[in-house]
Amino acid sequence: MGLIDDLDRFREVGENRRQDLADFITYGDLGGSRQDSVRIPIKIVDLPEFTYDQRDKGGVGQGDGETPDVGQPVGQPEPDDGDEEEGEPGEEGGDHEYYEMDPEEFAEELDEELGLDLDPKGKKVIEETEGDFTDITRTGPTSTLDFERLFKEGLKRKLGMDFDEEYVRAVLKIDGWGPQRAFEWARTEENIPVSLPWLQEAYEDIPASERTIYRNRAEMEAAVDREDPRVRIRRDGVDQIPFRREDERYRYPEIVKEREKNVVVVNIRDVSGSMRKQKRELVERTFTPLDWYLQGKYDNAEFVYIAHDAEAWEVERDDFFGIRSGGGTRISTAYELAAERLEEEYPFSEWNRYVFAAGDSENSSNDTEEAVIPLMEEISANLHAYVETQPSGNAINATHAEEVERHFRDAEDVAVTYVSSPEDVTDAIYEVLSTEQS
């Protein structure tokens, strides 16, 4: 037992063995992500306890340099994190249940992770706009931290501090050379960042018999190969990068005239009675990263959220993943609405279009073949995708995904993917994104 074990047990919470806790899991604040930052979700399990009704409780805030007026609206209070963990004194105040990340960074991470590099093609509009986050400052919001630079500087520092230990040990084995002599050699002749205590210690570790192996320096140099730390690090990797605050840089946008790339993402979700909680969560887990990714890839991203059962209607993002209605399912209604919305506001000549739908593959009879597929062909888009979420494998009459897949087998702009558990999400995202890339 130990922390690794605790971590394993934590991952199992809500899964088979600990279904009883499934209701107490939240995934950070997926629903409330703002447009300009992505919150990296982390799983939180909040055991129930006697608490006050949040709304009835009210609270205390602090004005930013001035006292606000009575009656002035204030934003949604942060969840009460007064007693995180054991209330350990000294932990950084205000732990939060999510990490904010710039969508661009997220897209980069995902590219790296999945080996993708989706290059946004498409429509460009000349406009005056906020440009890339290319200017840098030493302070700024965390979401604009140039992590890559921080990493590189850390790596440089690591390289600066690193040296070929074997080679330096060999130097100590030259007859007549002690640590002092070796230190002078390292510092004056070689610029090797080794310290005197290190040399003294290394020297002590060398058995007396080996301290005179080489008669002189030339002999040693002939016998021992030197290895550049870079080569070693490339081979063995780095275990730890020394991050320093002075290396932190934050990016802020410069205002430039530039070509803008627009994207509109239509998210469609089946909200009918058969879409139970687990399926809904799987949709959220798949769609949210896709949205972030595209948001990170394009300069201007807009989203349309369509919910449907036997009818379709447009909803706000905040409601999208939570809604549940009764009734049957007619997927084509959603595509009709999507076509209408895209036609009105997002001409394909100016917008990159992505149409993602998700559901459990149940559809009313013949609707897929007679209505959905023709609509999908009709709606021009960079990519169409259908994500089937079936936690327990396929239901008998759930054939929408298969029908779509069969029909569009050779098409390059239609992806169909299946998600039956959270582990499948990454594959599904890969499947969807790599379809466009190819």
């Binding site: 037992m1 922390l3 074990d5 605790d6 971590l7 047990r9 934590f10 991952r11 600990r18 009883d20 806790l21 990296i40 982390i42 939180i44 399990v45 055991l47 306890e49 006697f50 608490t51 006050y52 009704d53 709304r55 009835d56 409780k57 009210g58 609270g59 205390v60 805030g61 602090q62 930013d64 001035e66 006292t67 606000p68 009575v70 009656g71 002035q72 609206p73 204030v74 949604q76 209070p77 942060e78 009460d80 007064g82 007693d83 054991e86 209330g87 350990e88 004194p89 000294g90 932990e91 950084e92 105040g93 205000g94 990490y99 990340m101 302070t139 992590f147 730890q240 002075e246 932190e248």
Partner: protein, 695 residues
């Protein structure tokens, strides 16, 4: 699992920092350490001086801390410590895994941060992460010294134990629970679930009482009946009386009463303790409640003990964090503990910690401590001024030249500008001068360039850092209200009159602020601290306000900037860990050994969803049906609509409610007002909405 909970590559600096003069003997000390990792050793080496100097400075400043053992740990070890709430070993549970997961993700996505961990223990243990910058390390060290002083001196910490020995306590707990989990007779999942149930009631203890162990009542009871027989024997009654009055039936009845004696005399907030004593488990096979297994009773008591151990930290968060931030800032910025090139990083670190959004205990606490210092200093100065002939509370503002007074209060050059080159002129007998320090400095043994404070006593340092002359506080004196002036003058004895303002100011004692602060840190907790020191002046200075959810507008709005309201809301947030007060009312409810809990309603309603979920867990710990009585607020749709049209707030209707859970399903019954009236507090009102908003 071995008993050794130490890290393989720990570095311990001198166990008792204060006693060592590490400056001169660093190299020797170093050879005493195991040398697993050069980097660790360098770090330990580099920090030895800051550690010992911070300890010495803290002592000079009048702090009286537990000795602190510092450990250098790497990034992974730090994450582990954070996950375990600051300790090296805890019982196996997924909650630590959760924190660990978060910690790792934070590192992965946001890069490392300087964390500081210090444990309430004697000696205290503090951990420093090897990759932190020197400025961060120093900030952590000074912060830690002040925390340790707080642990050692605050009475709420003393309540658990004067000698907590926490690490070994928690480690023993870990071993016990681990052994249950490994016991082939016990299902590990059962233990884990049992822990979950108990954790739901973590805050339902009586944190105002010292921890006392409780064991299941069934063993105790046998003893008690025996006692009665003994007592009867002692009464030396005749056999006749005995058989007539105290016969077997009487004893039997008495025993049965004991069985039902589960009604606490007073409503008891120690729900966990009550469950320890009378809790059972529900046996599905026999469909009845049976006694707890030994391991269940033991785990229950262990977690209750941990809840009591951690309670003082939760009760003094504002006070303790503010205290540490205050002294950290004084040592780092005020005494140049941060070197010039480190200072920017330090300031950056400080602003990050203090400015991290929402209501931050660090910043609220720091501001309040500074306020305590300023107002105490002010009170003292004003007392002196009011004794000057011709100055009364009525003419105070018109008569006193505040700028002149403040300039007279400026610290003397002797303490403000320590000049290592003119030591001969320093008067040895001045109470502000540390004569040993002076002798050492004259002998060239200490570096006054770097550590000017070594020349001074606490009195000298107090003058050097006198709060009222700092740029941001120069207005304090003139800002004093007439009410306060009158109050001060009312309690003033007419002795010690001064002929002039100059004479009065010369008699000012610069240490009163710190002395007062030390008194406050001994006796207060967050609630009493806020209650005593939060004033309108403070609220105005720092722009605090209250907000409420406005039903008609369906959003949160600012409701008040009056300190009484701000105080009310803060009290709500800090009283009883910010949680509603739940008491055990009856352990024999409905005469069927059901458990009745009551919510002591203070005008703020319970979250009913959470309450139901919690009741389900309590059922597992009680083994029989459980019920909760509370008062709910209901808003009539029609009233809301009417109120909205008038731009007013609807008034809620308060109704009694009982929720009962029998292991299978919930039953909710509306109660008459009579049945819950005793739960409603009439003397407090946490609502801060302006009266004119109400419909």
């Amino acid at each position: 699992m071995s008993d050794d909970t130490e890290f393989p590559n720990r570095r311990e600096s001198e166990p008792d920092i204060r006693g060592s003069n590490a400056e001169t003997e660093r190299d020797e000390a170093k050879t005493g350490w195991a040398t697993a990792d050069v980097e660790m050793q360098w770090e330990a080496d580099r920090l030895e001086e800051p550690v010992s100097e911070a300890g010495a400075l803290a002592e000079k400043l009048g702090l009286d801390a537990y000795p602190v053992n510092y450990w250098i740990v790497n990034y992974d070890e730090m994450n582990e410590l954070i996950a375990y709430g600051g300790f090296q070993k805890r019982y196996p549970h997924w909650r630590w895994g959760m924190t660990y997961d978060r910690q790792q993700k934070q590192g992965q996505f946001l890069g490392g941060k300087a964390f500081e961990i210090v444990n309430n223990d004697n000696p205290a243990h503090a951990f420093l992460q090897v990759s932190n910058s020197l400025a961060d390390q120093k900030a952590v060290i000074t912060h830690v010294e002040a925390h340790s002083d707080f642990f050692a001196n605050n009475q709420w910490f003393g309540m658990f134990s004067d000698d907590p020995n926490a690490a070994s306590l928690l480690s023993r707990h870990a071993d016990a629970i681990e052994s249950y989990m490994q016991d082939p007779e016990i299902d590990r999942g059962d233990v884990e679930r049992w822990i979950d149930h108990i954790l739901c009631l973590e805050d339902n203890i009586d944190q105002y009482e010292a921890y006392r162990p409780v064991s299941p009542a069934n063993t105790e009871r046998e003893g008690e009946v025996g006692d009665i027989e003994d007592q009867l024997d002692e009464l030396d009654l005749s056999e006749e009386v005995k058989s007539q009055v105290f016969d077997e039936d009487w004893l039997q009845a008495r025993e049965e009463d004991e069985e039902h004696m589960t009604v606490p005399e007073e409503p008891d907030t120690d729900v966990l303790g009550f469950l320890c004593k009378y809790g059972k488990q529900y046996d599905e096979d026999t469909e009845r409640a049976v006694d707890l297994e030994d391991w269940q009773a033991d785990v229950l008591e262990i977690l209750r003990r941990e809840a009591y151990y951690f309670a003082p930290q939760k009760m003094t968060k504002v006070l303790n964090e503010g205290w540490a931030s205050y002294w950290e800032s004084l040592m780092m910025a005020g005494e140049n503990f941060a070197d010039a090139d480190e200072f920017i990083t330090y300031a950056d670190h400080m602003s990050q910690v203090l400015g991290s959004g929402g209501l931050n205990p660090y910043s609220l606490g720091l501001q309040l401590w500074q306020y305590v210092e300023n107002t105490e200093n002010r009170r003292h100065v004003v007392e002196h001024l009011l004794r000057v002939d011709g100055i009364t509370w009525r003419n105070f503002h018109d008569t006193v030249d505040f700028e002149h007074v403040v300039s007279m209060l400026e610290p003397a050059d002797l303490v403000a500008e320590v000049d290592p080159d003119s030591l001969t002129e320093v008067p040895e007998s001045d109470p502000r001068i540390d004569s040993e320090g002076l002798a050492a400095a004259r002998a060239g043994e200490i570096n006054l360039e770097k550590y000017p404070w070594k020349l001074l006593t606490e009195e000298g340092l107090a003058e050097r850092h006198y709060s009222l002359v700092k740029p941001e506080n120069r207005g304090y004196l003139s800002r004093i209200s007439m009410e306060e002036l009158e109050r001060i003058s009312r309690y003033l004895f007419e002795t010690d009159r001064y002929a002039s303002v100059e004479e009065a100011i010369a008699a000012v004692d610069y240490t009163v602020g710190w002395t007062r602060m030390r008194e406050v840190r001994e006796s207060h907790n967050d609630v009493t601290f806020l209650d005593e020191f939060l004033t309108q002046e403070f609220v105005d200075e720092h722009d605090y306000f209250t907000y409420e959810y406005v039903q008609s507008a369906e959003e949160y709005r600012v409701t008040s900037v009056d300190y009484k309201d701000v105080k009310k809301k803060l009290m709500l947030q800090f009283t009883n860990f910010g949680k509603p007060t739940i008491t055990v009312s009856d352990g024999n409810y409905r005469n069927r050994n059901e458990l009745l809990l009551e919510h002591q309603y203070n005008g703020v309603a319970l979250d009913l969803g959470e309450a139901r979920d919690t009741l389900e867990r309590i059922f597992e710990l009680w083994g029989r049906p459980v019920a909760l009585r509370t008062i709910q607020k209901e808003y009539d749709e029609h009233h809301i609509e009417v109120a909205r049209r008038r731009d007013r707030e609807p008034e809620a209707e308060e109704k009694g409610l009982e929720i009962r859970y029998d292991g299978m399903e919930f039953e909710e019954v509306d109660l008459s007002w009579d049945a819950v009236e005793h739960l409603a507090a009439t003397d407090i009102d946490y609502d801060t909405k302006p009266d004119e908003w109400l419909a």
